[in-house]
């Protein structure tokens, strides 16, 4: 016989505000806090803490009104992403009670506690333990346990007493719950239901199904059935992120470069094995070395493409390792993959079959090595006609972007001065420069071509620099230079081929 499932739902009525408060110790604990978001031109409250709720504020209120009502109200902009991420972390934390937990944004947790409650002394004790732990962390929580996930959630949203509903009696338990709070139905639908005299789940469940479905669509019936425990939509359990840090404590402190390198190899091998199991490759690694005197030193490396080849990562660490100052020795090392990317099995460098690594993998490894000591860039086209803004430095590992046709075709220096070099044009012939004073000498110009006028890019706004006139000039030696005349000054800006 299948084990009847049991679900524990937690509703965190003030989650967004309380979560934010945890990361902001500067906020006063005993003063009301409200979060706002912009809706069009208006700033509306979107989340409150229990002080603000007790003072009568409501989500949806204008921020200005709320501040007028409660002069000591602390207000902050809402951060929905951070709040959702925090809820996922909380769901991972809840895995201490059961291996299956899920975050139900914006403010709910769902735990499948089937077969777990006896470890905590029964369902009531488990629920009390969970809400007490949350309260200790400064989180208000209401819990409920039922045989269907949606029933437990609906009960948790409404009831403060932590109801525990026996399997099979969910429909009876949810019947008195108000539709709005328990099921989170859209406001327009609620109004229509209220006009028909339907305010609680029980009211709606008693109606004939077909007219209800025709009038409000299938989602309402689905929500009602789920809350009554007649159908069980799947829940999406959260997976704890893999632990990508390895630590080795040493019985004796180590000092020598060889010993540290050997230890790093062992750490890297262990970490790469974990990365491989998780299907990940490291992008950024930190090695923290704890010295016997209680201080710590940290080294960081980065890779351009996800990598879990221990040998390659060890080579990247070779140079930073030399900067460690062991003094009396290190007693503990922690290697941590700070950033990872998904990486399939094909990305592994050393295949047991002895197949040659792919050439682009070899290039990526070369760029990783060079990138530890040099600045690497690929030229990426930019929509500008001013030469110094015509390309930007893109990361070297990025797939190269093809240049648009005609890019840079109008002016063709091959080298551009990092700092334009001032010159004086000393003679003109028919409006074109004929001689110039450059590097302490006067050079006659045998040929001058131009001007090519480039206007300032007015669409960037701000104060406009003067327009530039470019001249291609040739010295008697044949050397060709690219002169720029702007705002009354002449400069050499580049070399022509």
């Amino acid at each position: 016989m299948r084990l009847a499932r049991r679900y524990l739902a937690v509703h965190l009525p003030f989650w967004a505000a309380e979560h934010l408060r945890q990361s902001r110790p500067d906020l006063a604990q005993d003063q009301p806090l409200a979060l706002w978001a912009r809706q069009g031109a208006r700033r509306l409250l979107v989340a409150l803490d229990h002080h603000a709720a007790a003072a009568g504020l409501e989500p949806g209120q204008a921020l200005a009104d709320a501040e007028a009502l409660l002069p000591d109200l602390q207000v902050l902009p809402a951060m929905p992403e951070a709040s959702a991420a925090g809820l996922r972390e909380l769901a991972v934390w809840a895995q201490r009670f059961t291996p299956i937990s899920a975050a139900l944004p914006p403010d709910g947790l769902l735990l499948d506690i089937t077969g777990c409650d006896h470890l905590f002394g029964g369902e009531a004790a488990l629920l009390a333990h969970l809400t007490a732990s949350l309260a200790e962390a400064g989180l208000s929580a209401q819990g409920a346990i039922a045989g269907a996930a949606a029933s437990a959630m609906a009960l948790a949203r409404v009831r403060h007493d932590g109801p525990i509903i026996a399997a099979g009696s969910e429909e009876k338990a949810v019947a008195p719950l108000p539709l709005g709070t328990a099921l989170r139905l859209p406001g327009a639908m609620l109004e229509d239901l209220a006009r028909l005299g339907l305010r609680s789940i029980g009211d709606a469940l008693r109606q004939p199904r077909a007219p209800l479905a025709r009038r409000f669509g299938a989602p309402l019936l689905d929500a009602l059935d789920a809350a009554a425990g007649h159908r069980a939509p799947p829940i999406t359990p959260i997976a704890a992120p893999p632990d990508l840090s390895v630590t080795r404590a040493l019985p004796e402190p180590i000092l020598t470069a060889e010993a540290i390198a050997a230890l790093l190899d062992r750490l890297l091998a262990a970490l790469c094995a974990r990365l491989s199991r998780a299907g990940l490759g490291a992008r950024r690694l930190s090695l923290t070395a704890f010295r016997v005197d209680g201080t710590e030193q940290r080294l960081m490396i980065g890779t351009g493409a996800p990598n879990r080849d221990a040998g390659h990562l060890a080579r990247l660490f070779t140079e930073p390792l030399a900067s460690l100052a062991p003094e009396l020795g290190f007693e503990r090392f922690t290697l941590h993959a700070l950033a990872t990317d998904p990486m399939g099995a094909e990305g592994q460098g050393a295949l047991p079959m002895g197949a040659a690594p792919r050439p682009d993998g070899v290039l990526a490894q070369l760029l990783d090595r060079l990138g530890q000591r040099l600045r690497l860039a690929r030229p990426a086209p930019m929509p500008s006609h001013w030469p110094e803004r015509q390309w930007r430095a893109a990361p070297p590992h990025e797939a190269p972007s093809p240049a648009p046709p005609g890019w840079g075709a109008r002016a063709a220096p091959v080298l551009l001065r990092r700092r334009p070099e001032a010159v004086q044009v000393t003679a003109f012939a028919e409006g074109a420069p004929a001689a110039m004073h450059w590097r302490g000498r006067v050079y006659p110009l045998t040929r001058a071509e131009g001007p090519l006028r480039l206007e300032a890019e007015w669409w960037h706004g701000g104060a406009l620099p003067p327009a530039r006139d470019y001249h291609r000039v040739q010295l008697a030696s044949g050397e060709r230079l690219w002169l720029c005349h702007a705002g009354g000054r002449w400069v050499v800006q580049g070399d022509l081929p």
Partner: protein, 229 residues
């Protein structure tokens, strides 16, 4: 061999050693995988072209002409090109300007080293990497690049099969282990780009040139002007 050996045996052994040494000195280059990189369409001038998997040197009378010649050669080696320079260099390569010479920006990786030894190290690492088509190092006037350093680079290029190019200003080059050394100087011109190109030296061959060449944008190749060379 002991002192008791007859003189004839000793001289025979010496002759064998000399043969071995001569063989070592003139052995065929181990690198040079793939087809050589042509400089001119006409193979009678310098043969099929510049060997890959070797180090070559370009001394330029003007910075622009050297970069253009390097771009023409690197465009022909195919694959990705690493262009290394140091922060001390007052000029930056302008990638769009290399397109007319056939070197597309998508095959270009620019590397800037804070100091010269790092640039040298990067060049050696790059030349050992078979995934690259070519690598060029822009060396300033006062930068230490002696016989030992160039020999290291050449051996690295042989190992990796990468086309290596040293770009140096005029008059800076001393002894070097590069396989060829070129000199390029701009020539006055009205329309087409014109240069005077000289093969100053090549290992296992005679110097050649100078040639007056012009760049044909349509074909992307160097054309020998009538009456020169």
């Amino acid at each position: 061999m002991t002192a008791a050996d007859p003189p004839s045996a000793r001289s025979a052994a010496l002759a064998r050693l000399r043969d071995t040494l001569a063989g070592l000195a003139t052995r065929a280059p181990t690198g040079g995988t793939g087809t050589p990189i042509p400089v001119f369409a006409d193979p009678s001038l310098i043969g099929a072209g510049l060997v890959r998997g070797a180090l070559h040197e370009v001394c330029a009378a003007s910075p622009g002409s050297g970069v253009a010649f390097a771009a023409i050669l690197l465009a022909r080696c195919g694959g990705q090109v690493l262009w290394i320079s140091t922060e001390q260099e007052s000029n930056l390569v302008w990638p769009p300007g290399l397109i007319p010479f056939g070197l597309a920006p998508e095959s270009l990786i620019l590397a800037r080293a804070a100091r010269w030894p790092e640039a040298l190290w990067a060049m050696e690492e790059a030349l050992r990497c078979p995934a690259l088509g070519g690598a060029v190092l822009m060396a300033g006037a006062g930068q230490g690049l002696d016989l030992t350093a160039t020999r290291r680079l050449h051996l690295a290029a042989e190992a990796g099969g990468v086309f290596g190019l040293l770009l140096r200003p005029d008059g800076a080059a001393g002894a070097s282990a590069a396989r060829t050394r070129w000199h390029i100087a701009p020539l006055s011109s009205d329309a087409a780009l014109r240069w005077r190109l000289t093969l100053l030296r090549q290992r296992g061959g005679a110097p050649a040139g100078p040639w007056n060449v012009s760049f044909e944008a349509a074909t992307g190749s160097l054309r020998l002007e009538a009456g020169s060379g």
